[in-house]
């Protein structure tokens, strides 16, 4: 077996982290994307820019600020302590919070594009057919935006799997708690265990390629709004 127990633990932790992050992002990102796609408020620009920040910032910068904010003296850290959650730095919860922020644009932007592409007309049609706004969202917007949700989920998951800097900054390197695959590879390389690094790195490469293949192959022949 080329992968040892700590490798498998890292893979399992990575899958758990990416799944949970994607799920949270779909829940949080949907209203944000809907608002961004439809609002005419001046806040649209600033909010859009904040959501997109992780696209351009070095992960270490995000990780650094999160570390400060979530730390025992940071405002978020004070809040989690006041709520009795203790400190979330160097814990799986901290990783999830960091990942959610880090992968936010990869979920919000496909959703925003999908919502934008639907346009005003289907919503108006639904309203003239007695559907309330919520009814319209569930029965018209969500089905029409399905390709956007698929893209958002794949990108959110894959991008979380690929993170390194943020994890290292706020998660550290604790086996089965915060040591994800990318960190594990770093450890192997540090320890000159190139063969094990090869296996994990190769697995990541194949996984990433398959994900993107799925994404681009699935883009063809989508039914549009007529």
């Amino acid at each position: 077996m080329p992968l040892d127990a700590s490798d498998l633990g890292a893979i399992w932790l990575t899958v758990k982290l990416a799944s949970l992050t994607t799920l949270i992002l779909l829940v949080l990102g949907t209203p944000i994307a809907w608002w961004l796609a439809r609002t005419r408020s001046w806040l649209r620009g600033p909010v859009g820019a904040v959501v997109a920040l992780p696209l351009v910032l070095p992960p270490t910068v995000i990780g650094f600020y999160l570390l400060i904010a979530l730390g025992p003296h940071g405002w978020l850290g004070q809040a989690t302590q006041a709520l009795g959650l203790g400190s979330v730095v160097f814990s799986f919860t901290g990783l999830v919070i960091g990942s959610v922020i880090y992968s936010m644009p990869f979920v919000v932007q496909p959703l925003q594009n999908a919502f934008g592409a639907i346009g005003q007309r289907p919503l108006e049609v639904a309203a003239t057919l007695r559907a309330s706004p919520w009814d319209t969202f569930v029965h018209v917007v969500l089905p029409l935006a399905r390709p956007g949700f698929v893209t958002a989920s794949i990108l959110g998951f894959a991008h979380t799997v690929g993170e390194f800097g943020v994890v290292l900054m706020i998660g550290g390197n604790i086996p089965d708690k915060t040591r994800v695959v990318s960190v594990q590879i770093f450890d192997h390389v540090e320890a000159m265990e190139y063969s094990q690094a090869h296996w994990l790195a190769g697995a990541m490469l194949v996984f990433s390629f398959l994900v993107l293949l799925l994404l681009y192959a699935g883009r063809r022949g989508k039914a549009g709004w007529s």
């Binding site: 049609v125 309203a127 003239t128 057919l129 007695r130 029409l144 039914a223 007529s226």
Partner: protein, 363 residues
């Protein structure tokens, strides 16, 4: 007011102001006619609540839907309207059947006045139920769109140029269905169009919109015949009549139509026998009407009506004049040369004979 549609709307956009005070009959087809940018679609959208006017009062057959004075605005999904858009706008993720049932499912069973079977039969779409919208032709899709609107049992039907996106043959495919709606449904229909032929064929009441103002509103026959409106100037200018079928000459295959009004004359048109007592809508174009001092029977002209001159006005070119005539209580328009008018010594009150070269049967 019961039995009518009241819409007072004031709406200002960057490049456009709408300011209308409409009173439309609570049944039949009312057409909002005008060029693009005249505000007809905005009127319709305000009626449906899709657009909110700065100042608005909307009352449909006694029910107030919007009253900005008291801050009342009924949300669009709470208004019992059926809206047909220019493009069919079917939901692409649903089958034709699910599209049709979308509104139908969302109203209380007790309020469903139209069944799926009825709507399918009325619009000839029963064979399309299992299809996806993407596989329908433009005409089929629009028929489904109309049926979908009907199935929500609206108390007001709104149609925004439902034929404008279709080519000639597809238009001719749908027009008969719209006429059936007119004949078989009790629901008032407000129909937006910039096509004079559609309006002449379908409308009972005509509102002429120009730059956000309603410059005329009245029964179709009278409004089309008004010389002070731009309608009388066009190439297609003419009047429409609802003719009562009163006889048929089987030898020559000519149908006799009596125009409305007690002393109204008969029109004869080349047409096979038709149900006696039914009405047919016919159009007489101004350019097909010539005037004579005497009833000259020695010509191939079939219809010769005694008329009285109401007034005349210059046409849009210096060679012609437009003459408004009274034919037994029915308005008739003639477009003749200014030379002929002078030869006839045309003046208001003058008794003449109108020779009608052709009468077009609408629908």
């Amino acid at each position: 007011m019961t039995g009518s549609i009241v819409a007072r709307l004031e709406l200002a956009r960057d490049d456009f102001t709408l300011d209308v005070d409409l009173l439309l009959p609570g049944r039949g087809i009312s057409a909002l006619f005008g060029h693009s940018g005249s505000g007809k679609t905005s009127c319709l959208r305000c009626l449906a609540g899709l657009e909110r006017a700065a100042s608005a009062y909307i009352e449909i057959n006694g029910e107030v839907w919007e009253d900005s004075a008291s801050g009342y605005f009924q949300a669009p999904h709470l208004r019992p309207v059926g809206y047909v858009f220019q493009e069919a706008s079917l939901f692409p993720h649903l089958s034709v059947r699910s599209n049709l049932e979308f509104g139908w499912r969302r109203i209380a069973p007790g309020e469903r006045k139209v069944s799926l079977d009825q709507a399918c039969q009325l619009l000839g779409i029963g064979h399309l139920l299992a299809r996806r919208p993407a596989t329908l032709s433009g005409g089929e899709a629009q028929r489904v769109g109309i049926a979908r609107a009907l199935l929500s049992s609206p108390r007001l039907l709104l149609m925004d140029e439902p034929l404008a996106a279709l080519d000639g043959p597809r238009k001719r495919e749908i027009l008969p269905y719209l006429e059936r709606l007119h004949d078989e449904l009790e629901i008032p229909l407000v129909y937006v169009s910039h096509a004079q032929d559609e309006v002449a064929r379908l409308a009972d009441h005509l509102v002429l919109l120009e730059q956000g103002q309603a410059v005329a509103s009245g029964p179709i026959g009278e409004t089309l015949a008004r010389l002070d409106l731009s309608l009388a100037q066009g190439e297609d200018a003419g009047v429409v009549f609802e003719g009562l079928v009163v006889g048929h000459d089987p030898h020559y295959d000519l149908l006799d139509l009596r125009l409305p009004g007690s002393s109204a004359p008969l029109l004869r048109i080349a047409h096979p026998a038709h149900v006696m007592g039914s009405t047919l809508r016919v159009k007489v174009q101004a350019r097909d009407v010539s005037l004579a001092l005497a009833a000259d029977s020695a010509s191939s002209i079939l219809n010769r009506l005694p008329v009285r001159v109401r007034e005349s006005r210059p046409a849009d070119n210096p060679a012609h004049v437009l003459v408004s005539l009274d034919a037994g209580g029915n308005a008739l328009l003639a477009r003749i040369t200014r030379y002929s008018a002078d030869q006839l010594g045309l003046h208001p009150g003058q008794a003449l004979f109108a020779q009608i070269k052709s009468v077009a049967l609408l629908g």
